[in-house]
Amino acid sequence: MKGRPELYTSYGQDMAFLNTRPKRAWSGGLLVIALLMPFLITDDLLQLLATGFVAAIGAIGLNIVTGYAGQVSLGHAFFLAIGAYTAAALSGPETGRVIGFGITSLPVWLLASGLVAALFGVLVAPVAVRLRGLYLAIVTLGLVFLGEHVFREWTSLTGGPGVGRPAAIPELFGVRLDQDNSVLTAAQMLYLLMFVLLVIFGVLARNLVRSRVGRAFAAVRDRDLAASVIGVDLTRYKVLAFAVSSFYAGVAGALLFVVNGFFDPGSFNLLLSVQYIAMVLIGGAGTISGAVMGALFITLLPRITRELPAVLPFISGDATGVVTVFQVEAVLYGVLIIVFLIVEPRGLFGIWVRVRNYWRTWPFSY
């Protein structure tokens, strides 16, 4: 009896973090591959992947509030911005142009930016508790516009539109992670940092959603009235969902521009919010691994389309020509959203599930 992979004799086994043997094998394998990556591929690809990992942290956050708790938020860009500016202001040096406090220790500003963003999430939540569905979506959208205005005008914090300010300075145990040293390059260190953080936050989120809180979120999502009848405190869990989601967004925002080193207030617009929504939906709403897949997919998409002109000669690689690669990228983005939602509503995660189920019963998969 012991050796049977899907024999569960307790709820604990069923709800376990990695509850099947293949899951354990796959996760271990992916972990090893990801840790070996920095020594196998070039630095520019590493930077792209590092950005993808940060985006994944943000997407997990959005997935908690939208995918698990069912509260549609188009305001993710606003919370990302809060995190980014908290981190940049805390860690940056005080110059005449922008404020800064010079606390470069990474754990300090990372935690602070998450907490400040979570605070804003809690402030927004009372409005959200009263609203439902598309009303909420549009209100959170309004938040992005109001935020954009504040960040545009508050130049001593943000450096002003078109100019911007340096991103947060990542320093861990006295080592600057954004500068090459004798052992590793900056790209390798940032890649490893982002990967470790993604694993930490991914595991935390996974643990949250398989707990009592996560089940309450799912109940609120599926039917909030029914949830409140069986004793789920709606206000409490909606506020909690917004707070956790904003915390993740704050952390992601703080790290998002570390790889590039510079950012300006124009980055936090509606498009960014839509990108995160697309990550969640293309990856698969209501799954942690889906959010990671979606984030990596959306981040790598521009790079993939950039390779297209070599394969399809009618697409031109620069801004001239009938069909440019930039147009293809934008159209592809829209088309992918449409196609995924119509054909595979469970997203990349759903495709993975189908592939898995095919091979699980192979050769009897009919």
Partner: protein, 295 residues
């Protein structure tokens, strides 16, 4: 006083643009329970189409042709992309319309290029004396046109057979279906109406300033308008649109004097702040229906 009247007229003028867009949003919402984020793209496409057509068939002719063409385009989009999604969660459908918006906008941008295109309207920035204040002609035209369009829409919904069918579908889709209303064609028609209204609004936005790639952002101002008015109310859409326009314009004129700490150009985001305030008091907008739920 002149300054006040001028900014009021300006606000009502831009507000009537928002009203046209908001009417489109609400018509789609009422029949399909979806907010169509594709409206900005249809608005842009309408303005661009007019800028190409007006040298050939005169400005008014171009507006009519563009409104019809965009209506047909919107109808096609509904048939091809939205119809397969009937019965899916509204949020998912709303996100699909964002995808539609991106695609239509990229294609339209290719026709705009980098320069500003003129729609060839007869008003430009000419002013006329109105109640003792110099106001731009185009704002008066916008107000008048919106009034006529709103009246026609009201008559259409109130007295025509199809309008009755649309109201029936808005009330209850299944019952309407059982009574022999073709719910599918109501969906298609409401998208077509919204597309036509968006095209008209796009032309008005482009009068005076011309069409460029950033024009679509204006359409997002209609979102606070529909929320303030209430998602289910056509009258609310008009009121909301005008309110947003006037608030925006008055803030633009006076905010530097009484609240400079809000920062310049706060007028542009004032509608969103107003929306938050209205929702804190009335979660379903001014004229929206309070949802009654049962388990």
């Amino acid at each position: 006083m002149d300054e006040f009247l001028q900014s009021l007229i300006r606000g009502l003028g831009t507000g009537s643009i928002y009203s046209l867009l908001a009417l489109g949003f609400v018509i789609i919402y009422k029949s399909t329970q979806v907010i169509s984020f594709a409206q900005p793209a249809f608005m842009l496409a309408g303005a661009v189409l007019v800028s190409y057509l007006s040298p050939a068939v005169s400005f008014v002719g171009a507006v009519v042709v563009a409104a019809v063409v965009i209506a047909v385009l919107a109808l096609g989009v509904e048939r091809a992309v939205l119809r397969p999604m009937v019965g899916k969660p509204v949020f998912v459908v709303a996100i699909i319309t964002i995808g539609v918006d991106v695609v239509v906008r990229v294609v339209t941008n290719a026709f705009i290029g980098l320069d500003v295109r003129q729609v060839g309207d007869p008003w430009g920035l000419n002013t006329v004396s109105f109640l003792g204040a110099e106001v731009q002609e185009r704002y008066l035209v916008m107000i008048a046109t919106t009034a006529v369009v709103t009246a026609l829409l009201f008559l259409f919904f109130r007295y025509s057979r199809i309008g009755l069918a649309m109201r029936a579908v808005a009330y209850d889709q299944e019952v309407a279906l059982a009574q022999g209303v073709s719910v599918g064609s109501v969906f298609a028609l409401s998208w077509a109406l919204a597309g036509g209204l968006a095209a008209l609004a796009g032309v008005f936005v482009a009068t005076g300033a011309g069409v460029d790639q950033q024009l679509w952002i204006v359409a997002l101002k209609a979102l606070p308008a529909i929320i303030i008015g209430g998602l289910e109310s056509l009258g609310g859409a008009v009121v909301g649109g005008l309110t947003v326009g006037v608030v925006e314009s008055l803030f633009g004129t006076y905010q530097n004097d009484f609240a400079p700490w809000l920062g310049p150009n706060f007028g542009l985001v004032a509608p969103y702040a107003l929306m938050l305030l209205v929702l804190l008091v009335r979660p379903y907008g001014l004229f929206g229906k309070r949802e009654v739920e049962r388990l």
